[in-house]
């Protein structure tokens, strides 16, 4: 099997940049494994939340009393749209190698990501002030803040990474390193979507329904 036929999950450079595709094999595989170990971390946090949201409420408020489904739904839309925009950024990188359009799509992604983090911080603020639901109140709230906070921290570091990549695109153009880094950032960003879908489902929807 020739190298160009050896495809990896996610967007491939095989058709447009064979040399970049060859270099991608090892680093992207490594990044998938990193994502897997990161997902183990989230799995552990989910499991902790699953136990704590039932048994750890103590004297504090329960999930249904503090969650705002509308806000969580809007956050979901923001994050999914930002992933969609990142998809376009990568397509522009692969087929057009056009700095301006890639940077424009990254800007859209970044703005949606910032909006997501901003909304989440606002959620925390509302919970802490209107419901007095701070992480120090109960095990359930500790687990909630750690799970969503770890996700928000991932999104924030993804945003910093995105800003650095924007600079590197401007400085270096689309050389091999920059392309492979953007591809990995894209995987990272999409993974955070998947984790958020889990949070939206198990934390917010189940929490309000129970």
């Amino acid at each position: 099997m020739s190298l160009s036929e050896r495809l990896h999950p996610g967007i491939n450079l095989a058709g447009t940049d064979p040399e970049g595709h060859e270099a991608a094999e090892e680093v992207l595989f490594g990044f998938w494994i990193f994502l897997m170990s990161d997902l183990v971390l989230f799995a552990v946090l989910f499991a902790t939340y699953a136990a704590m949201s039932v048994q750890g409420i103590a004297e504090g408020p329960g999930p249904a009393e503090v969650f705002d489904l509308t806000a969580a739904f809007l956050e979901t839309l923001l994050l999914l749209l930002s992933s969609f925009a990142f998809g376009f950024a990568l397509l522009a990188m692969k087929y057009r190698e056009n700095r301006r359009s890639v940077l424009a799509w990254l800007l859209v992604t970044g703005i949606l990501g910032v909006a997501f983090v901003g909304m989440e911080l606002h959620d925390y603020y509302v919970m802490a002030t209107a419901h007095e639901a701070t992480p120090q109140v109960s095990g359930f709230l500790s687990a909630y803040y750690l799970l969503t906070g770890t996700h928000a921290l991932h999104v924030s570091s993804g945003l910093v990474w995105m800003a650095i990549m924007a600079i590197q695109i401007a400085v270096f153009g689309f050389d091999k390193r920059v392309k492979l880094r953007l591809m990995r950032l894209a995987l990272f960003w999409h993974m955070l979507d998947v984790v958020w879908i889990g949070i939206f489902t198990f934390v917010y929807l189940f929490g309000v329904a129970s």
């Binding site: 552990v44 048994q55 992480p135 500790s142």
Partner: protein
């Protein structure tokens, strides 16, 4: 000027010497003595480096290196330094328990608590882990015919994070106290309510740094094995050490995350008033036990699997035979790796789950004995009909087979929840896990050092001193730990600093004698290394193959050049080098040489390690400016590195050719030695393959008796 703003919670009383001045007692003097040794050791290193003008070479050739071989050696040096401290702590605890029958001995309870906490934490995270990681680093890329690991810089960063954690634990000797919560640090005892002060914080951040380093190592090695094998090296042609490295790497990827999560949660409880593991407000300490052992049980296989790999290499080489049952050993390794995630609950049978749950985990635990048993039979059968040389690694191997089986049997006993309820939390358990880890992992690493030392440094270790150290270590282990089985059955609880039952005394005395023997063995091992370095001319084996080896690492010079292989090898069997020697095709000049690209040295990794260490220290002592500054700097280094473009250098083909042809010419000019002369000065590292020796009556190598596959 606000003192606390600058120094956080550090005060004059935080220094260990203050305790000895304010409250003079033997216990405090020992603590101060240990602190003094740490400070003097650091000072002595600084003076030695300055006098010998080694600072520049240390920085240029070692700390900034991303070469997997140097990274591996630095890991092992770290492990040995930390071992020196932790083994002395072990002996100190034995002495305290011996002297504390019906009186309080010479250590305070608090000091004893710190000792068993640091002993366990160091032995697991900063001896065993760096030892296996260093060994995998050094050997695995050579065995699969690669020039380096997949991500060399990441590899160096893992090392520096581990060293940062080790330094943090060493600092705890001098500034402040360490945790008294044991190496498992169970809350709620380790929560802020019962353990105020910095001890537990030292544990949290040291372990977290090591844990993140290990996660990155696992990722790196797994990718290396999947993607960097040389042409023809299919998975089922890899030496068994590579298989065990692969399984250990996979375990690291999955098992380190729960530990990181547990330490972060414990930190949030302590620093920010969260309620993960507290007694009230919905906290649940059982979740800690689950998370910790979800890491902790795979961890013991992370440690033992590479040792199993070492044993497989050692027994085959020193029996002059191929390993028996290669395929079954591979599957057994995989089975152990998978099962290791299904048994974590046996660490807390007594913590209140139903009998049925206990039964499931008890049975799963016993099942692990099956693949392990397969391995033991394979090793035994490898020796059958072989030409066994009783070298130091082989002695360790035979000792391993005998004692590991006993330890395994007590493990099967403990896997039965009914029996576990009786001996839970006693010295029986302490005896059991030392029985697995010392002859299995630690002696496995010692055997590996004896085995691969000539590869790494170009000269053999002194065999006589090696055997002498073995004859102290092996009986020392038996004496130190078998009495603990009896004591455990008599009801002696673990982590206890004084006794009232005089019947314990003779057993404790025996154990103390064992501890002395172990210390003697370690002293002899250090002597062995020093003597061997002095006599390196007569022990030299630069031609690379002192033991008549079978895998690719023996086909290259000792020490190997920066680029490992002048030309990437192409293999067509499981024993490529051995078969080439037999067929007379080894040491042939390649038809053409090419330029080789290697990564340049970089200050990135040591800087990240330095800032990570400062960051953790700031967190321990609540020095918030240091936390912020070092965190920013750490990431600034990462970002700055991402803008560096000149990260590779080219070694011209002519340089490679000159070095390799000189090596090949030296090999061809040297007569090979037979196995009889293995330990003589005639052994320069060119072996006559066993099957070509004219020895009468010896089975030809590769042939097995009646059981050949």
């Amino acid at each position: 000027m606000n003192w606390e703003l600058i120094f956080g919670q550090i005060t004059w009383n935080s220094f260990v010497f203050a305790g000895a001045i304010e409250n003079p007692s033997l216990s405090e003097f020992i603590a101060s003595g240990a602190g003094t040794v740490a400070v003097l050791g650091a000072l002595a290193s600084v003076i030695l480096l300055t006098v010998k003008r080694w600072w520049v070479p240390l920085w240029r050739d070692w700390l900034t290196s991303v070469d997997h071989k140097k990274v591996g050696i630095m890991y092992i040096v770290t492990a040995l330094v930390m071992f020196a401290r932790a083994v002395i702590e072990g002996a100190l605890m034995r002495a305290q328990q011996l002297s504390a029958v019906d009186n309080s001995g010479f250590l305070s309870a608090d000091h004893f608590g710190q000792l068993f906490s640091t002993h366990g934490t160091i032995m697991i995270f900063f001896v065993a882990m760096p030892f296996i990681t260093g060994l995998m680093n050094y050997v695995m890329p050579l065995q699969i015919g690669a020039r380096d690991v997949s991500f060399p810089l990441l590899n160096a960063i893992s090392l520096m994070l581990t060293i940062a954690g080790a330094i943090l634990i060493m600092v705890s000797l001098v500034i402040g106290q360490f945790s008294t919560g044991g190496w498992t640090a169970y809350p709620p005892f380790t929560g802020i309510h019962f353990s105020p002060g910095q001890g537990v914080d030292y544990w949290i951040w040291a372990v977290s740094l090591g844990s993140i380093g290990s996660t990155l190592t696992g990722l790196n090695f797994a990718v290396t094995i999947y993607k960097k094998r040389c042409p023809g090296m299919t998975l089922f042609r890899m030496p068994l050490f590579c298989w065990t490295t692969l399984c250990t790497s996979i375990l690291m990827i999955f098992a380190m995350a729960p530990l990181t999560a547990a330490t972060i949660m414990l930190a949030l409880d302590r620093y920010a008033g969260f309620h993960f593991f507290t007694n009230g407000a919905g906290g649940n300490m059982m979740n800690y036990a689950n998370l910790f052992w979800l890491f902790g049980h795979p961890e013991v296989y992370i440690l033992i699997l590479p040792a199993f790999g070492v044993w497989s290499e050692v027994v085959a080489t020193f029996s002059s035979k191929r390993i028996y049952g290669y395929t079954s050993l591979v599957y057994a390794t995989m089975c152990i790796a998978v099962l290791s995630f299904a048994v974590w609950l046996h660490h807390f049978f007594t913590m209140g789950q139903s009998a049925n749950v206990n039964a499931v985990f008890g049975i799963a635990t016993m099942v692990i004995g099956v693949p392990t048993g397969v391995k033991v039979y394979d090793w035994l059968l490898t020796m059958v009909g072989g030409r066994i040389r009783f070298t130091t690694p082989m002695l360790f191997h035979i000792n391993f087979l005998l004692t590991f089986i006993l330890g395994g049997m007590t493990g099967v006993l403990l896997a039965n929840p009914g029996i576990d309820f009786q001996v839970h939390n006693t010295l029986f358990l302490v005896a059991h896990f030392h029985n697995m880890i010392i002859p299995g992992v630690l002696f496995g690493m010692f055997a590996a050092v004896q085995f691969w030392f000539p590869k790494a440094f170009g000269f053999r270790l002194h065999e006589g001193l090696g055997r002498a150290s073995f004859w102290c270590f092996a009986p020392g282990f038996l004496l130190a730990f078998f009495p603990l089985y009896w004591l455990g059955m008599m009801g002696a609880t673990r982590r206890t600093y004084m006794w009232t039952d005089p019947a314990y005394l003779p057993w404790l005395a025996l154990a103390m004698a064992g501890a002395v023997l172990i210390l003697t063995g370690f002293a002899l091992m250090v002597t062995q290394i020093v003597v061997s370095v002095r006599r390196r001319a007569e022990l030299a084996a630069p031609l690379g193959d002192p033991w008549d080896g079978r895998a690719l690492e023996w086909s290259i010079p000792s020490p190997p050049p920066d680029w490992n292989f002048a030309v990437l090898p192409e293999v067509s069997s499981r024993h490529p080098f051995y078969e080439a020697k037999k067929a007379g095709t080894a040491y042939r000049s390649p038809t053409a040489y090419e330029d080789i690209e290697v990564p340049r040295n970089t200050a990135t990794a040591p800087l990240i390690g330095l800032f990570a260490c400062a960051w953790a220290f700031g967190l321990v002592w609540h020095i918030w400016w240091l936390v912020v500054v070092s965190f920013v700097l750490m990431w600034a280094v990462v970002i700055a590195r991402s803008f560096a473009s000149d990260t590779e250098e080219i070694i011209p083909a002519a340089t490679v050719k000159a070095a390799n042809e000189a090596f090949l010419a030296a090999v061809r000019a040297t007569p090979g030695v037979t196995r009889d002369q293995e330990m003589t000065a005639a052994n320069r590292g060119r072996a006559v393959p066993e099957s070509l020796e004219g020895g009468a009556g010896v089975l030809s190598s590769g042939a097995t008796v009646g059981v050949s596959r």
